[in-house]
Symmetry: C2
Subunit: 217 residues, 2 copies
Amino acid sequence: MSKIDTKNRILDAAEVLFAERGFADTSLRLITSEADVNLASVNYHFGSKKELIQAVLDRYLSLFMPALDGRLQTLMAQDQLTLLQVFESFVEPLMKLSAVRANGPALFMQLLGRGYIDSQGHLRRFITTHYGATLHGITQAISKANPDLSPADLFWRLHFTLGTVVFTMASADALRDIAQADFGQQLDVEGLVRNVIPYLASGVGAPVESTRLSLVV
Amino acid sequence: MSKIDTKNRILDAAEVLFAERGFADTSLRLITSEADVNLASVNYHFGSKKELIQAVLDRYLSLFMPALDGRLQTLMAQDQLTLLQVFESFVEPLMKLSAVRANGPALFMQLLGRGYIDSQGHLRRFITTHYGATLHGITQAISKANPDLSPADLFWRLHFTLGTVVFTMASADALRDIAQADFGQQLDVEGLVRNVIPYLASGVGAPVESTRLSLVV
DNA sequence: GTCTATAATGGGATAGAC
DNA sequence: GTCTATCCCATTATAGAC
Protein backbone atom coordinates (compact mmCIF):
# COMPACT_ATOMS: atom_id res chain seq x y z
CA MET A 1 0.00 0.00 0.00
CA SER A 2 1.40 3.34 -1.03
CA LYS A 3 1.91 6.08 1.52
CA ILE A 4 -0.71 8.79 1.30
CA ASP A 5 0.24 12.29 2.19
CA THR A 6 -0.30 13.97 5.53
CA LYS A 7 -3.10 16.19 4.34
CA ASN A 8 -5.24 13.26 3.25
CA ARG A 9 -4.38 11.22 6.31
CA ILE A 10 -5.77 14.04 8.40
CA LEU A 11 -8.91 14.35 6.28
CA ASP A 12 -9.52 10.61 6.40
CA ALA A 13 -9.15 10.38 10.15
CA ALA A 14 -11.04 13.58 10.83
CA GLU A 15 -14.17 12.72 8.89
CA VAL A 16 -14.65 9.43 10.67
CA LEU A 17 -14.24 11.00 14.09
CA PHE A 18 -16.41 13.99 13.23
CA ALA A 19 -19.16 11.69 11.99
CA GLU A 20 -19.01 9.50 15.08
CA ARG A 21 -18.60 12.13 17.80
CA GLY A 22 -19.56 15.47 16.33
CA PHE A 23 -17.27 18.40 15.71
CA ALA A 24 -17.10 19.87 19.20
CA ASP A 25 -16.30 16.54 20.83
CA THR A 26 -13.45 15.72 18.45
CA SER A 27 -10.14 17.30 19.40
CA LEU A 28 -7.25 17.93 17.05
CA ARG A 29 -5.16 15.80 19.36
CA LEU A 30 -7.48 12.85 18.80
CA ILE A 31 -7.48 13.37 15.04
CA THR A 32 -3.72 13.63 14.70
CA SER A 33 -3.04 10.66 16.92
CA GLU A 34 -5.55 8.58 14.95
CA ALA A 35 -4.01 9.74 11.67
CA ASP A 36 -0.56 9.15 13.09
CA VAL A 37 0.66 12.62 12.14
CA ASN A 38 1.99 15.48 14.18
CA LEU A 39 -0.39 17.75 16.05
CA ALA A 40 1.02 20.88 14.47
CA SER A 41 0.39 19.60 10.95
CA VAL A 42 -3.31 20.39 11.12
CA ASN A 43 -2.61 24.05 11.51
CA TYR A 44 0.12 23.91 8.91
CA HIS A 45 -2.11 22.32 6.27
CA PHE A 46 -5.51 23.74 7.11
CA GLY A 47 -4.92 26.82 9.23
CA SER A 48 -7.45 26.02 11.93
CA LYS A 49 -9.92 23.42 13.11
CA LYS A 50 -12.78 25.32 11.54
CA GLU A 51 -11.12 25.26 8.14
CA LEU A 52 -10.45 21.56 8.55
CA ILE A 53 -14.16 20.97 9.10
CA GLN A 54 -14.99 22.87 5.93
CA ALA A 55 -12.38 20.93 3.96
CA VAL A 56 -13.82 17.64 5.18
CA LEU A 57 -17.31 18.59 4.09
CA ASP A 58 -16.33 20.12 0.80
CA ARG A 59 -14.53 16.97 -0.31
CA TYR A 60 -18.00 15.45 -0.56
CA LEU A 61 -20.10 18.46 -1.47
CA SER A 62 -17.89 19.30 -4.46
CA LEU A 63 -18.63 15.85 -5.88
CA PHE A 64 -22.21 15.40 -4.78
CA MET A 65 -23.73 18.70 -5.76
CA PRO A 66 -22.65 18.80 -9.42
CA ALA A 67 -23.69 15.18 -9.89
CA LEU A 68 -27.08 15.88 -8.40
CA ASP A 69 -27.37 18.97 -10.54
CA GLY A 70 -26.87 16.93 -13.69
CA ARG A 71 -29.46 14.41 -12.60
CA LEU A 72 -32.03 17.06 -11.87
CA GLN A 73 -31.54 18.72 -15.23
CA THR A 74 -32.11 15.44 -17.02
CA LEU A 75 -35.23 14.96 -14.97
CA MET A 76 -36.55 18.43 -15.70
CA ALA A 77 -36.33 17.73 -19.42
CA GLN A 78 -39.13 15.18 -19.04
CA ASP A 79 -42.76 16.09 -19.55
CA GLN A 80 -43.93 14.46 -16.36
CA LEU A 81 -42.10 13.51 -13.22
CA THR A 82 -43.05 12.01 -9.85
CA LEU A 83 -41.80 12.79 -6.38
CA LEU A 84 -40.37 9.29 -6.22
CA GLN A 85 -38.29 10.04 -9.27
CA VAL A 86 -37.02 13.26 -7.76
CA PHE A 87 -35.89 11.59 -4.57
CA GLU A 88 -34.45 8.64 -6.40
CA SER A 89 -32.27 11.01 -8.37
CA PHE A 90 -30.33 11.61 -5.15
CA VAL A 91 -29.27 8.01 -4.84
CA GLU A 92 -26.68 7.68 -7.53
CA PRO A 93 -24.81 10.92 -6.74
CA LEU A 94 -24.80 9.82 -3.14
CA MET A 95 -23.53 6.32 -3.84
CA LYS A 96 -20.80 7.66 -6.07
CA LEU A 97 -19.25 9.22 -3.00
CA SER A 98 -17.77 5.80 -2.33
CA ALA A 99 -15.10 7.04 -4.75
CA VAL A 100 -13.77 9.16 -1.91
CA ARG A 101 -13.70 6.16 0.39
CA ALA A 102 -15.59 2.92 0.94
CA ASN A 103 -18.33 4.24 3.22
CA GLY A 104 -18.24 7.75 1.86
CA PRO A 105 -22.01 7.93 1.34
CA ALA A 106 -22.76 7.18 4.98
CA LEU A 107 -20.04 9.50 6.24
CA PHE A 108 -21.26 12.33 4.08
CA MET A 109 -24.80 12.09 5.37
CA GLN A 110 -23.65 11.87 8.94
CA LEU A 111 -21.41 14.89 8.52
CA LEU A 112 -24.24 16.79 6.91
CA GLY A 113 -26.46 16.06 9.89
CA ARG A 114 -23.79 17.03 12.37
CA GLY A 115 -23.05 20.21 10.48
CA TYR A 116 -26.64 21.29 10.31
CA ILE A 117 -27.21 20.89 14.01
CA ASP A 118 -23.84 21.59 15.62
CA SER A 119 -22.53 24.92 14.49
CA GLN A 120 -25.27 27.48 14.52
CA GLY A 121 -26.04 27.84 10.84
CA HIS A 122 -22.47 27.90 9.50
CA LEU A 123 -23.04 24.94 7.24
CA ARG A 124 -26.43 26.13 6.10
CA ARG A 125 -24.89 29.39 4.97
CA PHE A 126 -21.92 27.68 3.36
CA ILE A 127 -24.15 25.40 1.31
CA THR A 128 -26.63 28.05 0.25
CA THR A 129 -23.88 30.40 -0.90
CA HIS A 130 -21.78 27.78 -2.68
CA TYR A 131 -24.44 25.47 -4.04
CA GLY A 132 -27.49 27.68 -4.21
CA ALA A 133 -28.17 26.82 -7.85
CA THR A 134 -28.46 23.12 -7.09
CA LEU A 135 -30.73 23.78 -4.13
CA HIS A 136 -32.93 25.84 -6.37
CA GLY A 137 -33.00 22.96 -8.85
CA ILE A 138 -34.31 20.67 -6.11
CA THR A 139 -37.22 22.94 -5.29
CA GLN A 140 -38.01 23.34 -8.97
CA ALA A 141 -38.11 19.59 -9.53
CA ILE A 142 -40.38 19.03 -6.55
CA SER A 143 -42.60 21.87 -7.65
CA LYS A 144 -42.96 20.31 -11.05
CA ALA A 145 -43.71 16.89 -9.57
CA ASN A 146 -46.28 18.34 -7.19
CA PRO A 147 -47.55 21.73 -8.37
CA ASP A 148 -50.15 21.88 -5.59
CA LEU A 149 -47.55 22.79 -2.98
CA SER A 150 -47.33 26.45 -2.06
CA PRO A 151 -43.82 27.88 -1.74
CA ALA A 152 -44.18 27.92 2.04
CA ASP A 153 -45.36 24.31 2.19
CA LEU A 154 -42.54 23.31 -0.09
CA PHE A 155 -40.04 25.07 2.13
CA TRP A 156 -41.25 23.32 5.24
CA ARG A 157 -41.52 19.91 3.69
CA LEU A 158 -38.05 20.11 2.22
CA HIS A 159 -36.71 20.76 5.69
CA PHE A 160 -38.79 17.95 7.12
CA THR A 161 -37.16 15.75 4.52
CA LEU A 162 -33.71 17.02 5.34
CA GLY A 163 -34.40 16.29 8.98
CA THR A 164 -35.58 12.79 8.28
CA VAL A 165 -32.53 11.97 6.26
CA VAL A 166 -29.75 13.56 8.26
CA PHE A 167 -31.07 12.37 11.59
CA THR A 168 -31.47 8.85 10.30
CA MET A 169 -27.97 8.92 8.88
CA ALA A 170 -26.46 10.52 11.94
CA SER A 171 -27.73 7.61 14.00
CA ALA A 172 -27.54 5.05 11.21
CA ASP A 173 -24.96 2.85 12.88
CA ALA A 174 -26.94 2.50 16.08
CA LEU A 175 -30.22 1.96 14.22
CA ARG A 176 -28.77 -0.72 11.98
CA ASP A 177 -27.37 -2.52 15.01
CA ILE A 178 -30.84 -2.54 16.56
CA ALA A 179 -32.52 -3.67 13.33
CA GLN A 180 -29.98 -6.44 13.06
CA ALA A 181 -30.50 -7.59 16.65
CA ASP A 182 -34.29 -7.30 16.72
CA PHE A 183 -35.31 -8.26 13.20
CA GLY A 184 -32.25 -9.99 11.77
CA GLN A 185 -32.25 -7.32 9.10
CA GLN A 186 -29.06 -6.34 7.34
CA LEU A 187 -29.27 -3.08 5.42
CA ASP A 188 -26.37 -1.41 3.71
CA VAL A 189 -26.41 2.33 3.13
CA GLU A 190 -28.09 2.14 -0.23
CA GLY A 191 -30.73 -0.15 1.24
CA LEU A 192 -31.31 2.33 4.01
CA VAL A 193 -31.58 5.20 1.58
CA ARG A 194 -34.03 3.32 -0.59
CA ASN A 195 -35.96 2.42 2.52
CA VAL A 196 -36.48 6.06 3.39
CA ILE A 197 -37.44 7.23 -0.09
CA PRO A 198 -41.08 6.09 -0.10
CA TYR A 199 -41.50 7.73 3.28
CA LEU A 200 -40.13 11.02 1.99
CA ALA A 201 -42.06 10.97 -1.25
CA SER A 202 -45.29 10.22 0.55
CA GLY A 203 -44.66 12.86 3.21
CA VAL A 204 -43.84 15.58 0.71
CA GLY A 205 -46.86 14.61 -1.34
CA ALA A 206 -49.30 14.58 1.56
CA PRO A 207 -52.52 16.61 1.14
CA VAL A 208 -52.10 20.18 2.29
CA GLU A 209 -55.64 20.95 3.46
CA SER A 210 -55.18 19.65 6.98
CA THR A 211 -52.10 21.85 7.30
CA ARG A 212 -54.03 25.01 6.65
CA LEU A 213 -56.51 24.43 9.44
CA SER A 214 -54.09 25.35 12.17
CA LEU A 215 -52.13 28.30 10.85
CA VAL A 216 -51.76 30.99 13.44
CA VAL A 217 -52.36 34.57 12.41
CA MET B 1 -42.24 38.50 41.16
CA SER B 2 -41.22 36.06 43.83
CA LYS B 3 -37.67 34.83 44.09
CA ILE B 4 -37.28 31.29 42.78
CA ASP B 5 -34.69 29.08 44.28
CA THR B 6 -31.22 28.45 42.93
CA LYS B 7 -31.95 24.97 41.67
CA ASN B 8 -34.76 26.14 39.41
CA ARG B 9 -32.84 29.21 38.29
CA ILE B 10 -30.14 26.84 37.07
CA LEU B 11 -32.62 24.55 35.33
CA ASP B 12 -34.36 27.47 33.65
CA ALA B 13 -31.17 28.99 32.35
CA ALA B 14 -29.62 25.67 31.39
CA GLU B 15 -32.46 24.41 29.25
CA VAL B 16 -32.55 27.54 27.12
CA LEU B 17 -28.81 27.46 26.52
CA PHE B 18 -28.74 23.72 25.92
CA ALA B 19 -31.54 24.05 23.37
CA GLU B 20 -29.83 26.92 21.57
CA ARG B 21 -26.23 25.75 21.58
CA GLY B 22 -26.20 22.05 22.36
CA PHE B 23 -24.82 20.41 25.47
CA ALA B 24 -21.13 20.33 24.60
CA ASP B 25 -21.04 23.97 23.63
CA THR B 26 -22.74 25.20 26.80
CA SER B 27 -20.38 25.62 29.74
CA LEU B 28 -21.37 25.67 33.38
CA ARG B 29 -19.87 29.13 33.53
CA LEU B 30 -22.30 30.36 30.91
CA ILE B 31 -25.23 28.73 32.66
CA THR B 32 -24.44 30.09 36.10
CA SER B 33 -23.71 33.58 34.87
CA GLU B 34 -26.97 33.60 32.94
CA ALA B 35 -28.85 32.27 35.95
CA ASP B 36 -27.01 34.75 38.17
CA VAL B 37 -25.94 32.07 40.63
CA ASN B 38 -22.57 30.90 41.76
CA LEU B 39 -20.56 28.53 39.61
CA ALA B 40 -20.13 26.00 42.39
CA SER B 41 -23.87 25.70 42.95
CA VAL B 42 -24.32 23.45 39.93
CA ASN B 43 -22.16 20.80 41.45
CA TYR B 44 -23.74 21.32 44.83
CA HIS B 45 -27.28 20.86 43.55
CA PHE B 46 -26.82 18.41 40.71
CA GLY B 47 -23.46 16.74 41.25
CA SER B 48 -22.16 17.15 37.71
CA LYS B 49 -22.93 18.61 34.35
CA LYS B 50 -24.17 15.25 33.10
CA GLU B 51 -26.69 14.97 35.91
CA LEU B 52 -27.83 18.52 35.22
CA ILE B 53 -28.55 17.54 31.62
CA GLN B 54 -30.63 14.59 32.78
CA ALA B 55 -32.52 16.75 35.25
CA VAL B 56 -33.32 19.27 32.54
CA LEU B 57 -34.71 16.60 30.27
CA ASP B 58 -36.60 14.73 32.92
CA ARG B 59 -38.51 17.81 33.98
CA TYR B 60 -40.29 17.49 30.65
CA LEU B 61 -40.23 13.75 30.12
CA SER B 62 -41.87 13.09 33.47
CA LEU B 63 -44.82 15.22 32.40
CA PHE B 64 -44.98 14.38 28.73
CA MET B 65 -44.71 10.61 28.82
CA PRO B 66 -47.54 9.86 31.27
CA ALA B 67 -49.83 12.32 29.48
CA LEU B 68 -49.08 10.68 26.15
CA ASP B 69 -49.62 7.29 27.72
CA GLY B 70 -53.11 8.25 28.82
CA ARG B 71 -53.96 9.57 25.39
CA LEU B 72 -52.78 6.43 23.68
CA GLN B 73 -54.80 4.22 25.98
CA THR B 74 -57.96 6.17 25.23
CA LEU B 75 -57.19 5.84 21.55
CA MET B 76 -56.59 2.10 21.77
CA ALA B 77 -60.05 1.63 23.27
CA GLN B 78 -61.56 2.67 19.93
CA ASP B 79 -62.50 0.14 17.31
CA GLN B 80 -60.79 2.00 14.49
CA LEU B 81 -58.05 4.57 14.49
CA THR B 82 -56.07 6.44 11.85
CA LEU B 83 -52.41 7.41 11.74
CA LEU B 84 -53.46 11.04 11.85
CA GLN B 85 -55.25 10.39 15.12
CA VAL B 86 -52.19 8.71 16.55
CA PHE B 87 -49.91 11.60 15.71
CA GLU B 88 -52.44 14.16 16.81
CA SER B 89 -52.53 12.50 20.22
CA PHE B 90 -49.01 13.85 20.75
CA VAL B 91 -50.08 17.45 20.44
CA GLU B 92 -51.92 18.04 23.67
CA PRO B 93 -49.32 16.37 25.94
CA LEU B 94 -46.72 18.44 24.16
CA MET B 95 -48.57 21.72 24.48
CA LYS B 96 -49.23 21.11 28.16
CA LEU B 97 -45.49 21.44 28.70
CA SER B 98 -46.07 25.17 28.69
CA ALA B 99 -46.93 24.54 32.35
CA VAL B 100 -43.19 24.25 32.97
CA ARG B 101 -42.56 27.53 31.20
CA ALA B 102 -44.00 29.57 28.37
CA ASN B 103 -42.16 27.97 25.46
CA GLY B 104 -41.72 24.63 27.16
CA PRO B 105 -43.05 22.65 24.17
CA ALA B 106 -40.44 24.08 21.81
CA LEU B 107 -37.65 23.73 24.33
CA PHE B 108 -38.52 20.13 25.02
CA MET B 109 -38.44 19.18 21.36
CA GLN B 110 -35.16 20.98 20.82
CA LEU B 111 -33.59 19.30 23.82
CA LEU B 112 -34.83 15.95 22.60
CA GLY B 113 -33.17 16.53 19.26
CA ARG B 114 -29.93 17.68 20.83
CA GLY B 115 -29.91 14.75 23.20
CA TYR B 116 -30.46 12.21 20.50
CA ILE B 117 -27.63 13.51 18.37
CA ASP B 118 -25.10 14.91 20.83
CA SER B 119 -24.32 12.30 23.41
CA GLN B 120 -23.76 8.95 21.83
CA GLY B 121 -26.94 7.12 22.73
CA HIS B 122 -27.18 8.19 26.38
CA LEU B 123 -30.60 9.71 25.92
CA ARG B 124 -31.91 6.84 23.84
CA ARG B 125 -31.00 4.43 26.63
CA PHE B 126 -32.40 6.69 29.32
CA ILE B 127 -35.75 6.98 27.57
CA THR B 128 -36.09 3.33 26.67
CA THR B 129 -35.33 2.22 30.22
CA HIS B 130 -37.49 4.82 31.98
CA TYR B 131 -40.37 5.15 29.54
CA GLY B 132 -40.31 1.86 27.67
CA ALA B 133 -43.98 1.17 28.31
CA THR B 134 -45.06 4.39 26.64
CA LEU B 135 -42.79 3.74 23.67
CA HIS B 136 -44.37 0.34 23.33
CA GLY B 137 -47.79 1.96 23.41
CA ILE B 138 -46.80 4.16 20.47
CA THR B 139 -45.80 1.22 18.31
CA GLN B 140 -48.98 -0.61 19.25
CA ALA B 141 -51.16 2.34 18.27
CA ILE B 142 -49.42 2.74 14.93
CA SER B 143 -49.66 -0.99 14.33
CA LYS B 144 -53.38 -0.87 14.94
CA ALA B 145 -53.83 2.12 12.66
CA ASN B 146 -51.76 0.52 9.91
CA PRO B 147 -51.59 -3.26 10.32
CA ASP B 148 -49.79 -3.69 6.99
CA LEU B 149 -46.49 -2.49 8.42
CA SER B 150 -44.02 -5.22 9.34
CA PRO B 151 -42.24 -4.77 12.68
CA ALA B 152 -39.06 -3.81 10.83
CA ASP B 153 -40.82 -1.24 8.66
CA LEU B 154 -42.53 0.14 11.72
CA PHE B 155 -39.19 0.45 13.51
CA TRP B 156 -37.61 2.35 10.67
CA ARG B 157 -40.51 4.63 10.04
CA LEU B 158 -40.81 5.54 13.68
CA HIS B 159 -37.21 6.65 13.63
CA PHE B 160 -37.73 8.53 10.40
CA THR B 161 -40.54 10.32 12.20
CA LEU B 162 -38.40 11.03 15.20
CA GLY B 163 -35.75 12.44 12.90
CA THR B 164 -38.20 14.66 11.11
CA VAL B 165 -39.54 16.10 14.32
CA VAL B 166 -36.40 16.59 16.36
CA PHE B 167 -34.38 18.00 13.50
CA THR B 168 -37.16 20.41 12.62
CA MET B 169 -37.48 21.48 16.22
CA ALA B 170 -33.75 21.73 16.78
CA SER B 171 -33.58 24.26 13.97
CA ALA B 172 -37.08 25.64 14.47
CA ASP B 173 -35.98 29.16 15.36
CA ALA B 174 -33.85 29.55 12.24
CA LEU B 175 -36.52 27.99 10.02
CA ARG B 176 -39.28 30.20 11.37
CA ASP B 177 -37.12 33.25 10.78
CA ILE B 178 -36.67 32.22 7.16
CA ALA B 179 -40.37 31.45 6.69
CA GLN B 180 -41.19 34.84 8.12
CA ALA B 181 -38.73 36.66 5.88
CA ASP B 182 -39.48 34.76 2.67
CA PHE B 183 -43.20 34.05 2.93
CA GLY B 184 -44.44 36.41 5.62
CA GLN B 185 -45.55 33.35 7.53
CA GLN B 186 -45.83 33.39 11.29
CA LEU B 187 -46.08 29.98 12.89
CA ASP B 188 -46.10 29.30 16.61
CA VAL B 189 -45.00 25.96 17.95
CA GLU B 190 -48.40 24.36 17.78
CA GLY B 191 -48.80 25.57 14.22
CA LEU B 192 -45.45 24.07 13.36
CA VAL B 193 -46.35 20.79 14.99
CA ARG B 194 -49.65 20.61 13.17
CA ASN B 195 -47.83 21.49 9.98
CA VAL B 196 -45.61 18.45 10.31
CA ILE B 197 -48.33 15.98 11.25
CA PRO B 198 -49.76 15.36 7.76
CA TYR B 199 -46.23 14.79 6.53
CA LEU B 200 -45.55 12.25 9.24
CA ALA B 201 -48.83 10.44 8.88
CA SER B 202 -48.45 10.21 5.14
CA GLY B 203 -44.84 9.04 5.38
CA VAL B 204 -45.56 6.37 7.94
CA GLY B 205 -48.56 5.25 5.93
CA ALA B 206 -46.69 5.07 2.61
CA PRO B 207 -47.09 1.83 0.66
CA VAL B 208 -44.44 -0.69 1.59
CA GLU B 209 -44.22 -2.43 -1.77
CA SER B 210 -42.01 0.21 -3.32
CA THR B 211 -39.65 -0.20 -0.41
CA ARG B 212 -39.32 -3.90 -0.99
CA LEU B 213 -38.56 -3.47 -4.66
CA SER B 214 -35.26 -1.84 -4.06
CA LEU B 215 -33.91 -3.61 -1.02
CA VAL B 216 -30.34 -4.63 -1.53
CA VAL B 217 -29.47 -8.25 -0.88
C1' DG C 1 -26.49 26.87 51.06
C1' DT C 2 -23.28 30.11 49.18
C1' DC C 3 -19.04 31.94 48.14
C1' DT C 4 -13.82 32.49 46.73
C1' DA C 5 -10.00 30.41 45.26
C1' DT C 6 -7.78 26.97 43.07
C1' DA C 7 -6.77 22.44 41.45
C1' DA C 8 -6.50 19.43 37.46
C1' DT C 9 -7.29 18.65 32.87
C1' DG C 10 -7.68 19.32 28.04
C1' DG C 11 -8.31 22.29 24.42
C1' DG C 12 -6.43 25.22 19.99
C1' DA C 13 -2.70 27.46 18.34
C1' DT C 14 2.27 28.78 17.50
C1' DA C 15 7.45 29.62 17.82
C1' DG C 16 11.47 27.96 16.39
C1' DA C 17 14.84 24.08 15.63
C1' DC C 18 15.56 20.71 12.20
C1' DG D 1 7.11 19.79 5.78
C1' DT D 2 7.78 18.04 10.28
C1' DC D 3 8.71 18.00 14.99
C1' DT D 4 9.13 19.42 20.10
C1' DA D 5 8.01 22.33 23.43
C1' DT D 6 5.20 25.59 25.12
C1' DC D 7 1.77 29.33 25.54
C1' DC D 8 -2.60 30.66 26.74
C1' DC D 9 -7.09 29.86 27.37
C1' DA D 10 -11.38 27.52 28.90
C1' DT D 11 -13.29 23.86 31.01
C1' DT D 12 -15.22 20.80 35.12
C1' DA D 13 -14.85 20.01 39.65
C1' DT D 14 -13.65 20.64 44.53
C1' DA D 15 -11.67 22.36 49.06
C1' DG D 16 -12.55 25.15 52.65
C1' DA D 17 -14.05 29.71 54.73
C1' DC D 18 -18.31 31.88 55.85
